[in-house]
């Protein structure tokens, strides 16, 4: 009898051990972003912020729509100016304090406060009073259009109706625990101080080495969070991360471009390989302040002489998509290829356009300076384009690699004839690209100005009807990249990943890794 009992005991112990192992779901990934400022009100959103704090609404990149997060539901006034959010009830911060509407008010106040010096503060200027406070013209935070009506009702008043507003607050305005900030100052996000309301809590942070997130039991949807511990290792070198993946020490990694061919050819690795779209646009600006690109025919000619498909097929080779237009697929306002917008690769037409502009066969064309911020990839793409422009148009193109910290400002002011730029979406809406990069009031000084384009972008920002918005963006892109050819989109980037078969991660061009949606077998 006692033997049976012993066997049962041993079996039971083994079972406990086994379930213990299985339930100890630990994910090992790279920590690829800035770990130093984890405060969602003082910096752009990174993985460590997105997984610890909850925005009012979330964004589901698989379905392409907003989803409830801190707010269970919301409504918009008929004039499109006032948003009312119903904050979840019965949900606590990790220190036991209930999450209230005031926590969201505090977040927007901190972002607007010039003393916080938040680099992304301009993104909430659409909220009543935010710009005046951020620019020091108003000091009374009561003038900010974010109000807690009661503990679970929040209203946000906008300056103008903005159809992109909801998707934009998925990446800004996460609730913050003001009492913790008051107590610890900028050290409030350190593991020993931080109080969170999101799916995970930072329990360890060794800069440049490792960050550890642990599931937060007080999160409103804690039961649905399957992975309980996440080790994020700071591995700056992509090839090293790949080697760690091959040794089984990481569960998923990005594949460096130089290893793509090997990974795709490897019998094991190729089965764990994923290639999909991302949300980054790679493009060139043309300097409309100086000849020859002050002439739209010349800009059109150079755009028509650029074989974007060849660049993604033979240079970048990472599954990028040649981009006829600006807004990447997956974002609201993406112009479908069927609309026929953009300047297709057509060397003969390019030559005709250049001749029409008064430079037949490139005669009389002064040397063109093409600048890029120094990097291997940018350099190789620029060399290819240099070749295309020289062969097709007879243009002399001088490449200029410029050091990063001065590049964007100098280029935007018009130091070069053409220059490289890139943009990763902050929120999945065309407004993010157009209104921040290309309109006359905020765009680079040296790119082309067009009043019709400006008014279309302004109108699209306030238009509530999504079909009409798409029409507006289609027309706006037609003006920007085709008629004016002020900007030349080149490609939309791709993500190349290796994923261990046991890991199921969200495969959509999301902006941050939302670990709470991932599972491990």
């Amino acid at each position: 009898m006692s033997r049976v009992r012993n066997v049962v005991r041993v079996l039971f112990a083994a079972l406990t051990l086994l379930t213990g192992l299985v339930s100890a779901q630990t994910l090992n990934v790279t920590l690829d972003q800035n770990t130093a400022v984890i405060d969602p009100t003082a910096n752009w959103l990174y993985d460590l912020t997105a997984n610890q704090f909850v925005p009012l609404v979330g964004y589901d990149f698989v379905t392409g729509s907003t989803e409830p997060a801190g707010a269970e539901s919301w409504s918009v006034s008929a004039d499109g100016l006032t948003y009312t959010f119903n904050i979840r009830q019965g949900w606590n911060w990790s220190d036991g304090t209930p999450v209230t509407a005031q926590d969201y008010v505090n977040s927007f106040r901190r972002i607007a406060d010039p003393a916080t010096a938040a680099p992304m503060a301009y993104r909430i200027y659409v909220i009543e009073g935010a710009q005046a406070i951020n620019q020091g013209q108003a000091t009374d935070f009561a003038t900010l259009g974010v109000t807690a009506v009661d503990d679970h009702t929040l209203t946000i008043k906008l300056v103008s109706p903005s159809s992109w507003f909801l998707s934009s607050i998925a990446s800004i305005g996460h609730a913050v625990p003001q009492w913790v900030i008051d107590e610890h100052g900028s050290a409030w996000t350190d593991p020993e101080n931080v109080v969170v309301n999101g799916p995970y809590k930072l329990v360890r942070l060794d800069h440049q080495d490792i960050a550890v997130l642990e599931a937060n039991p007080s999160y409103y949807d804690a039961d649905a969070v399957q992975i309980k511990t996440i080790n994020l290792y700071a591995i700056a070198q992509e090839s090293t991360a790949l080697a760690l993946f091959e040794r089984g020490e990481l569960d998923t990694v990005a594949v460096p471009a130089s290893d793509l061919d090997r990974v795709k050819a490897d019998p094991t690795l190729s089965g764990q390989f994923y290639n999909g779209p991302s949300n980054v646009l790679y493009y060139y600006d043309f300097n409309a302040l100086r000849p020859p690109f002050d002439n739209r025919l010349v800009r059109q000619a150079f755009a028509a002489a650029t074989d974007k498909q060849a660049i993604v097929d033979f240079i970048t080779k990472g599954g990028e998509i040649a981009a006829p237009t600006i807004t990447p697929p997956g974002s609201v306002g993406h112009v479908p290829a069927s609309a026929g917008v953009g300047i297709p690769y057509d060397p003969e037409h390019a030559k005709e356009l250049l001749a029409e502009a008064g430079y037949p066969g490139g005669q009389g064309l002064a040397p063109i300076t093409l600048a890029f911020n120094a990097s291997e990839t940018h350099s190789r793409i620029a060399q290819a384009i240099q070749q295309m422009w020289q062969n097709t148009l007879g243009a002399t193109v001088e490449l200029q690699a410029v050091e990063g910290a001065t590049y964007s400002q100098v280029a935007a002011d018009g130091a070069y004839n053409a220059w490289r730029m890139g943009w990763g979406m902050d929120y999945p809406d065309a407004n993010n690209l157009h209104a921040e990069l290309f309109t006359s009031d905020v765009g680079a000084r040296a790119i082309v100005r067009n009043a019709a384009y400006d008014s279309l972008i302004a109108a699209a920002a306030t238009e509530q009807d999504s079909a009409k918005r798409l029409e507006m963006y289609t027309e706006a892109e037609r003006i920007l990249v085709q008629e004016e050819a002020g900007v030349m989109p080149i490609y939309w980037s791709a993500v190349n990943l290796l994923i261990r078969p046991e890991l199921h991660r969200v495969l959509a061009p999301s902006f941050n890794r939302e670990f709470w949606k991932w599972t491990l077998d």
Partner: protein, 309 residues
């Protein structure tokens, strides 16, 4: 000798003062801002708020004086890019791994470089000499950027003997120490060989041999000791360079060291980090040179530091 050491340490302060002014002026004369992004110029108001936050809206002289005031109190200031970290934090957290790795690498360099140099010189123009110099030239020519991944591939992925990367165990220290040390070993080997060749053709070596001393004793006792003087001279700056971190090696092996801050801070105009790392490097360099100068005394009594006063 103690007086000399104290005097040299005191002389460090004016040196650091000059370095701080030159670095401060240089970094502020380079265009660019710590808050610039490559994608888009920052909106002017946002930049103004950031400038005000870090006191960059004040005149340069005020900025310098307030910075130096803080430095004298031991406060190297905040990092502009890592807002809730100070330069003191950065150095405290990242110097130790770099220093350990640097010392191990120096050990590798000495353990390989000096014997290879001596052997090559003693067996001049033999196969052994050619082999030694081949290794030395390869060590100088193959950059860490290539050697590191190559070692990872061979010893971690193919053979599985050592971990790929990261820091904390002795196994994890092996590959980065070799990667970082090999280049310096090559330099030391060539230097030792040249210096050794010069020494073994001198009269006192001939005298030692004619006294009937064994070849081993001639080499180790008489020649090597003299030949090592130039080697020790380069160990000073080599030590300073190795212990303050190597961006490339630390990056390849994911070591949380200080190396990247020397490079990144300049690229991103993180002014306090540029100042902090430069001053730190200056201190380490001056001190290691001092140790080298003092050690001459032990090796070659003719070079005894005289109290010139």
């Amino acid at each position: 000798m103690v007086t000399i050491a104290i005097r040299r340490i005191l002389a460090l302060f004016p040196v650091l003062f000059v370095i701080s002014i030159v670095t401060f002026l240089l970094m502020h004369s380079v265009p660019g801002s710590p808050f610039a992004t490559e994608d888009k110029p920052l909106p002017p108001q946002i930049k103004a708020n950031l400038d005000a936050y870090y006191g960059l809206d004040r005149p340069l002289v005020t900025q310098y004086l307030s910075y130096m005031g803080n430095v004298l109190r031991g406060d190297l200031g905040p990092s502009y890019l890592q807002r809730n970290r100070t330069v003191n934090d950065i150095i405290r957290q990242h110097l130790p791994p770099s220093a350990v790795l640097g010392m191990l690498a120096l050990g590798v360099a000495l353990a390989l470089g000096v014997p290879i140099g001596v052997l090559s010189a003693v067996k001049q123009n033999t196969a052994l000499d050619y082999l030694g110099m081949f290794v030395a030239i390869a060590g100088v020519s193959v950059p860490a950027m290539t050697l590191g991944p190559l070692l990872i591939w061979g010893f971690a992925l193919e053979l599985g003997w050592l971990p790929v990367a990261r820091w904390g165990t002795w196994q994890q220290a092996v590959l980065p120490s070799i990667t970082l040390g090999l280049g310096s070993a090559a330099i030391l080997a060539r230097l030792t060989r040249a210096s050794m060749l010069q020494t073994i053709h001198q009269d006192f070596i001939r005298t030692a041999r004619s006294k009937g001393l064994s070849e081993q004793r001639v080499i180790t006792k008489h020649a090597l000791r003299n030949a090592l003087v130039p080697v020790i001279t380069v160990i000073g700056p080599l030590f300073a360079a190795l212990v303050t971190g190597s961006m490339v090696v630390e990056q390849i092996f994911a070591i949380p060291g200080l190396g990247r801050y020397f490079v990144d801070s300049v690229a991103s105009r993180d002014y306090p980090v540029i100042m902090g790392t430069t001053l730190l490097y200056a201190v380490v360099l001056v001190l290691s040179n001092l140790v080298v100068d003092l050690s001459y005394n032990l090796i070659d009594p003719r070079m005894r530091l005289e109290d010139s006063a």
